[in-house]
């Protein structure tokens, strides 16, 4: 290494040093500490006591709320994420048809994302109010008697999923930009080859959009597994644990009962679940994600 190269390298390390430090203090250190805590009985005020796999044994075989929270969260993730992506993509497709007033539509669909999480949680409690809320009053116009929503164990989770769809505007913006970025000559070439609307959609639009859809699918799964605020504020996990999300369980264990060891074990299991699904999506992506410059399938 020449002196100038060495100097540049040293300056490079200095430049990234905040992140390096942060990585050890706020990421790697806590991950390892949390792994250790997960093997202990730890109630904050007393030092941790090593109990081996006790927390995990208790979680899998002695904690019905763990399984309930897992079921609730998985249902939420696997309904709201695909539904949200499909809706956002559909809206983006419509908006990409050279519509007039695009700016208005874009803003209208995005606006809900500007309401803070706590504000929209409170707003939606009021909207879901069985008697005086917006939704059931709207349904009443069609002679439908709306359900009890948040107060009913069968309707509370669907209610939260409906509320999550109010935020499709964020994804819509992303897909719209992706659609606008597809080179027009691809469509022209397809058209010259005699491809109709449907063929162009399936053989140009979809392949070009799969990387974006895929990325948002992964991020959607990661984010939705961590859903917390809506459940905490709107239902407190009820009624009858119908909206008892995984992170609620973790939160109550850690910060209400101060079972830090058990909560760390819960956190690790969550991390592994998220990692599992992320890898699954990554593995499967080889079959359906198209990247530019890659030869695959019919081309």
């Amino acid at each position: 290494m020449s002196p100038t190269e060495r100097r540049e390298a040293i300056e490079g390390y200095i430049a990234i040093s905040p992140w390096i430090l942060g990585f050890f203090i706020w990421t790697l250190g806590p991950i390892l500490a949390s792994l250790y805590f997960s093997l202990t009985d730890f109630e904050v005020v007393k030092p941790p006591v090593f109990i081996g796999l006790g927390n995990f044994r208790r979680m899998f075989f002695g904690d019905r709320l763990f399984w309930q929270s897992l079921k609730v969260t998985a249902t939420y993730v696997f309904v709201s994420v695909p539904l949200g992506i499909t809706l956002a993509f559909a809206v983006a497709l419509l908006m990409n048809q050279k519509v007039k007033f695009l700016g208005f539509f874009r803003t209208a669909y995005y606006m809900p994302n500007l309401v803070p999480a706590v504000g929209s949680a409170i707003l939606w409690i009021w909207i879901f109010n069985p008697e005086f809320g917006l939704l059931n009053n709207f349904l009443a116009n069609f002679g439908i008697k709306g359900p009890m929503w948040l107060a009913h164990s069968k309707w509370a989770l669907p209610a939260l999923i409906i509320m999550s769809l109010w935020g499709v505007g964020g994804g819509m913006l992303i897909y719209l930009a992706g659609l606008q970025g597809i080179p027009t000559d691809l469509y022209e070439a397809a058209e010259v080859d005699g491809a109709g609307v449907a063929a162009r959609f399936w053989h140009v639009t979809v392949p070009q959009m799969t990387p974006v859809l895929f990325f948002n699918l992964v991020m959607g799964i990661i984010g939705s597994f961590q859903v917390f605020t809506a459940g905490y504020i709107m239902t407190g996990g009820g009624p009858r644990y119908a909206t008892y999300f995984y992170v609620l369980h973790l939160y109550y264990n850690a910060f209400h009962y101060f079972r830090m060891g058990y909560a760390s074990a819960l956190a690790w299991v969550l991390g592994i679940i998220i990692l599992f699904f992320t890898l699954l999506v990554f593995r499967s992506s080889a079959a359906w994600v198209y990247y530019e410059g890659e030869l695959r399938g019919r081309r």
Binding site: F23, P30, L94, V118, I122, L123, I274
Partner: protein
């Protein structure tokens, strides 16, 4: 557009042989007849809850529980907004939220830019591996690091202070921010750096004098995102702040709900006031906003 021109030309040539429905112009009209109603209906669905928020916030107490609801209340209760300020320390909550938000913006933007500069413009052994490590941390859910971090802050006596919410942002401001700025720096021509070096500029001189002045759009995006994240943050303030005089707007308004569970007009007014800066910011800086959302969603 070119696409349209080609299409029109082709249809004109083949007109006699193409069935009615396959004709582009006819299909286009039908298509638009579907698109606009669907988009308008969707917009109404999206905006209705917001209209409900505004309308409820302006209702006098006597009109909240009237069926069917009155969209434009008579009389309009503007005083609801004043009442919120009287019933809860709204100004104090706003101040606390602002301290945390501004502190985090400063920490996140400054450190993310510096780190991104290192990754984008300087050569050092292990750079690419470290960058991969950085990217992979995006996948780690914050719950995994939460408890040890909490224990650490407890140990150094930072519970019930703003430090746990601000200080960590000075260590890179999150993988996403670093990635965003790095991509921006990568696009600037390297000749800029070389020319500056010939003129005797050191690496950090290049950073401050050449690159930073050009990075204003990306810093804007970063600042907006940091603002939105911290202004709206709920989970971390909930965990770290205990005493009422430290509460942020999120925590304070949620607490307010616990005490005023039937005063929907006041709760809506409080929520709307909290949302207002975000809405204003969106309309003032729409371009940055959309760029940022699009960027974070398109490439990982």
């Amino acid at each position: 557009m070119g696409q349209g021109a080609v299409a029109v030309g082709k249809v004109a040539v083949r007109r006699g042989t193409v069935p009615f429905l396959a004709r582009r112009s006819v299909r286009n009209v039908l298509f638009k007849l579907v698109i606009y109603p669907v988009l308008v209906a969707g917009s109404i669905v999206m905006l209705m809850p917001l209209a409900w928020l505004v309308s409820s916030s302006l209702k006098p107490s006597g009109l909240i529980f009237v069926v069917p609801p009155q969209w434009i209340p008579k009389p309009i209760a503007w005083e609801n907004y004043r009442k919120v300020w009287e019933l809860i320390p709204f100004a104090l909550y706003t101040r606390n939220t602002l301290i945390i938000t501004i502190g985090s913006i400063i920490g996140g933007v400054s450190s993310a830019t510096l780190v991104a500069f290192g990754f984008a413009r300087l050569r050092f052994p292990g750079r690419d591996v470290l960058f991969l490590v950085l990217l992979s941390t995006i996948m780690i859910p914050e719950q995994v690091t939460l408890i040890p971090t909490y224990v650490l802050f407890r140990l150094i006596g930072w519970l019930d202070t703003f430090y746990p919410l601000i200080v960590p942002t000075f260590f890179g401001g999150g993988a996403f921010s670093i990635f965003l700025v790095r991509q921006f720096f990568m696009r600037l021509p390297l000749e800029l750096d070389d020319a500056a070096r010939i003129d005797g500029c050191g690496s950090f001189g290049i950073f401050f004098r050449i690159l930073l002045p050009q990075a204003r759009p990306v810093l804007g995006v970063l600042a907006i995102f940091s603002f939105m994240g911290n202004w709206n943050g709920f989970f971390l303030p909930l965990i770290y702040l205990n005493s009422p005089e430290k509460y942020t707007l999120s925590i304070g308004i949620n607490l307010f709900r616990g005490t005023q569970f039937a005063a929907w007009n006041l709760l809506m007014a409080a929520s709307l006031m909290m949302a207002l800066p975000c809405i204003v910011l969106y309309f003032v800086a729409q371009r940055y906003f959309i760029q940022g959302i699009v960027f974070t969603g398109i490439k990982g």
